[in-house]
Each structure stands twice: as C-alpha cells, then as structure tokens.
C-alpha cells in the first residue's frame, strides 16, 4: 500500500432547480464545473487523469440511470480511461472516494478523479420506484407510509425519551449550522437563522421541523487524488488520506429500516456508521481524541448529537451540553460540520461524500476563512446511504 494524497478539490455551489445558483444546469454541467475547479486546484491536466471513480445514482443523468462517470468523461473529453460507477444511495460519494483511494493505494493508478453530482427531483425522496410486492421498500411505503424524515424523527423521538433532549436543543444545532454557512461560498443557504425562526418552521415529521431536515439540492463535487510520488511533482503541501473505510449494517442492527426485525435487547443505532468510522480510526492509527473536526452526515440535526457519542468523540448523553456550550462550533473543542453541513447545503445525494473531502481539504490547508477550525490537523468525514451503507475517511496534513 502506498500513501495517497488529495491534490485538488472543487465544488459547484449547491442550489435548487430554477434558482439563480444552479438554474436549469444538467448534472453533467454541474460536474464539469466541479471537475474543472479540482483540476486547476491540483495543477493536473485532464489527460493526466488515469481513471474515474464516480458516485452513481438513479436520480438524474443523460443515460437515464442517474449520474454515471461516463457522462462526465464524455463531456470533458473521452480519453478512453476506465470509469467505475458506484451506487450506494447517499453514501455513494464516500464509496467512490474509497474505491479511488484503494486503487491509488494499491498502485493500480497514480492519478484518479473522484466525482459526484446531482440534479434532484423535488420534494421528499421517493425511495421505491416500482410497485412490486417482493420489494420491501414498496411494502413499507404502501402499507405504512414511512418516508425518510419520519425514520429520522423516530430516532430523534427516542433520544428525547432516553436523554430528555428538547425541541429547543435540536433547533440550536440548526442555528449553529447556519451560522457556519455564512462564510461558505458553496453553501445553498448562507444566512443565519434564529432559534425562534427554526422553532416557527413547520413540522415535517414531529419532532423534526423544516429547518432541521436537509432539503434536496443540486450540486457537484470533485477531488483529484494521487500517489505520494506524484504528489511531490505537483505540490509541497499535500493533504494526506490517513484512511478510508466502507461498511454495511450488521444483522444485530435494530433500527426500523424495513417492516420488521428481531426486537433487540440492547441499544439501537446505525451499526454501519459506527463500523465504518471505527475501521477508519483503526486503519489510520488515530484516536477519536486526535480529531480536529468532523464532517458528518446531518440529514437531520439529530445526528449531530447521536453520532459523536456513538463513535467515541464524546460520552453518551453529553452532546446536548457540548452544543449548548458552543463546543461543536469551529472554535470549540469538538467542531462538527464547520462547512454548515447538509442542513445548510441540502443534499445532492452522490455529491455529499466528495463535498466532505473538499471541506476537509480546505480546512486542513487553512483555507476555510470565517469557518476555519484553528490549527486543524486531522479531519473525519462520514456518509450514510440507504441500504445500510456507510463510509468514513480521515484526512491529515
């Protein structure tokens, strides 16, 4: 295994179809912007890219099966390079990064482009496309009607029961997230919100409100990664990939993902997320206490409380106090989502895992402006995707 560096990153600012940010741009146009930016940032020419790891989805794209890297390569210039399309729901960007990383680390390629982008359909994500009684997701939506926000709201409600978390404490996390987004030119929302405004927004799924759940967005993200040897040719200050890991949920996982499962005797949590993050720590030889900041998948603010505890970044039941004390802000002891997170960006599914790599890279270079984590040395990124997918990556300088 050889060391892998992140050489350059790029984003297209996130927005909503028809707005002044993304207008009616296709996913290919969004990706082209992000890839151009990443190539320039890396000082790499398109012809030097040896392979593409793309985060793939069924939501949009020229060939009708969602974003695939082939569209991006055709658009930028068909050089005949191999394209790997990774489908893992909202974890696809993280998966693509892992595959790109693994191939460079294994010496298969020296320079790889990792890319994800999305033009999302409006409204709540429709998880089941076909009316087939053998499809458990169809049964869940037809027989119950249990959309994504209600899944998150069920976890949030249980935390309220276990730890006495209040609706104000959930709202406080959105206030923090949006404050971070003010300095971020790539965030869809770049305005602060007050606690009162969050609490005045309607419930999407009680106890979670509109401002506490990420909307769907259009956007794209790209990263150029390379071997240690190549990195020396392009830069004197590379950002290193300390580890990259992927996991799926285990049989013991008792979260309500389908219609039913065995009633557990212990706690219920995202086993795939904990496994991916634990593996990333183990492989990097880095302890949770050494993490300068974390970019985690906050589809809802609930995860900013639960995940740091589940991964050992803080003690169980401690997260509310840390949020209240400002410890999760960029200048706190445990900064979470200095980018503003999904709540400020909205979710462009396949872009998210790569967007996190871009934020980690800028933070570790000290280029994050108002949202900079002072002296950031180690960053943790984590994604979660439908089907029990999770990824984690640790970057360091």
């Amino acid at each position: 295994m050889q060391e892998v560096a992140v050489l350059g990153v790029g984003l297209h600012r996130f927005g909503k179809t028809g707005d002044g940010i993304v207008g009616n741009k296709s996913v290919t146009e969004l990706c082209r912007h992000a890839v151009d930016m990443a190539l320039k940032d890396a000082g790499v020419s398109w012809r030097q890219v040896e392979a593409v790891a793309a985060a793939s989805s069924r939501f949009s794209g020229g060939k009708g099966w969602g974003l695939n890297g082939n569209d991006v390569v055709e658009d930028i210039g068909s050089t005949g390079i191999p394209v790997y399309n990774m489908s893992a729901g909202c974890a696809a960007g993280g998966n693509a990064f892992n595959v790109g990383y693994s191939m460079v680390a294994g010496g298969v390629y020296d320079i790889v482009l990792v890319v994800g982008g999305e033009v999302m359909p409006k409204g709540m994500i429709q998880t089941s496309g076909n009316e087939e009684v053998t499809d458990p997701e169809f049964l869940r939506q037809r027989c119950i009607g249990f959309p994504g926000p209600s899944f998150w709201a069920t976890l949030a409600r249980r935390r309220m029961h276990d730890y006495g978390t209040t609706e104000e404490q959930f709202a406080q996390i959105t206030v923090k997230a949006r404050k971070c987004s003010v300095g971020n030119p790539f965030a869809r929302f770049q305005k602060e919100v007050t606690l009162e405004e969050v609490l005045a927004s309607p419930y999407v799924s009680n106890p979670l409100r509109l401002f506490e759940i990420c909307p769907v967005s259009n956007g794209a993200a790209a990263a150029i990664i390379c071997s240690k040897q190549k990195a020396r040719e392009f830069t004197t200050k590379p950002v290193w990939v300390a580890s990259s890991a992927v996991a799926t949920m285990t049989f013991e996982d008792s979260l309500p993902r389908g219609l039913a499962g065995p009633a557990p005797s212990g706690p219920s949590f995202h086993t795939e997320a904990k496994a991916a993050v634990s593996r990333a720590f183990e492989r990097a030889g880095i302890d949770p206490k050494d993490v300068s900041f974390t970019e985690l998948q906050d589809n809802t603010c609930y995860y900013e409380l639960a995940f740091p505890e589940e991964w050992g970044l803080c003690q169980p039941g401690e997260a509310e106090r840390l949020v209240a004390a400002g410890e999760t802000t960029p200048t706190g002891r445990m900064p979470i989502n200095p980018s503003g997170g999904f709540v400020s960006f909205g979710e462009a599914t396949t872009a998210m895992g790569v967007f996190q790599i871009a934020e980690l890279t800028w933070q570790l270079r000290g280029e994050s402006g108002a949202r900079q984590v002072p002296g950031a040395k180690v960053g943790l990124a984590q994604t979660l995707g439908l089907g029990g997918n999770a990824t984690a990556a640790i970057l360091k300088r």
Binding site: G123, G145, R158, Y203, S205, A260
Partner: protein, 145 residues
Amino acid sequence: MVVEGETQVVQSSEPCVAGLFVTDGGAKVLGSKCVACGTPYFPKAAHCHNPACPGSRMEPCAFGGRGKVWSYSVANFPPPPPHKYDNPFKPYAIAVVDLDGGLRLVGQMVDPPEAVRVGAAVELVVDTLYHEQDRAFTSWKFKLV
C-alpha cells in the same frame, strides 16, 4: 343491506397488499421464524439471515397481540407515492413497536398523534388505510390499550 327502510351502501374492504396479514381470530401479520435460532421475520423470509445461525430452518409464524412503543414519529405531510391516502390528508403517527412475541414491527397508529407516547402499550389491529373506487383498503396498524 336494508336497515330500517334505508338503503345503506356496504363498502367492501380488502388488504392493500394481499397475503401479508389476517383479521379473523385477531389481527396478525404473516411472517416466519427460524426454528434453529429463533429469529422472527416479517414479511416471510425464504431462509434465515442471521450469520450466527447454525442452519436455517424456516417455519410460517403469525405475529400479533400486544407490545410496547419503542419510538414513534408523525407524518405531518403526505409521503410520496407509492403511499396512498385519503384526501384531505390527515397527519398520522407511525410507531415502532416491540411485540411481546419478539418482533419489532413498524406500523401506523389508529390513535391521534398527540396520544402516542414512547413506552405505551399497544395492540395489533387491521384498519383502513385509504379508499379507492368506493372500496376500503386496509393495513396492519397499532392501537393504544
């Protein structure tokens, strides 16, 4: 059916998806259980998914009766298709229930969302989910006891 001289339209009702649950003799969902390791399944599984199971031996098993709400949420907006509902949309609670029989089952509550609590005792029932062409389509749900 004629009741006191008035003609009453009796709506026929049928399951929203056939073969998943029964009402006769008490509401039950039709699943299976591995007799080798005791893992319950709904809907029916062809073989056991437990990686620690010594050897899959599946038998049909119906689950019903009482349980406790592990947690719940409210659908304040109509979910996207393929969900179906009657207009005007009425917010409903969705409960995740640990049934006494060892199955953790998700289902709508028939009770109003304000009445539901974590830890509340509930029982499995079959109730109307939506109407289409004068027919009622049913699903399994939970009711506070």
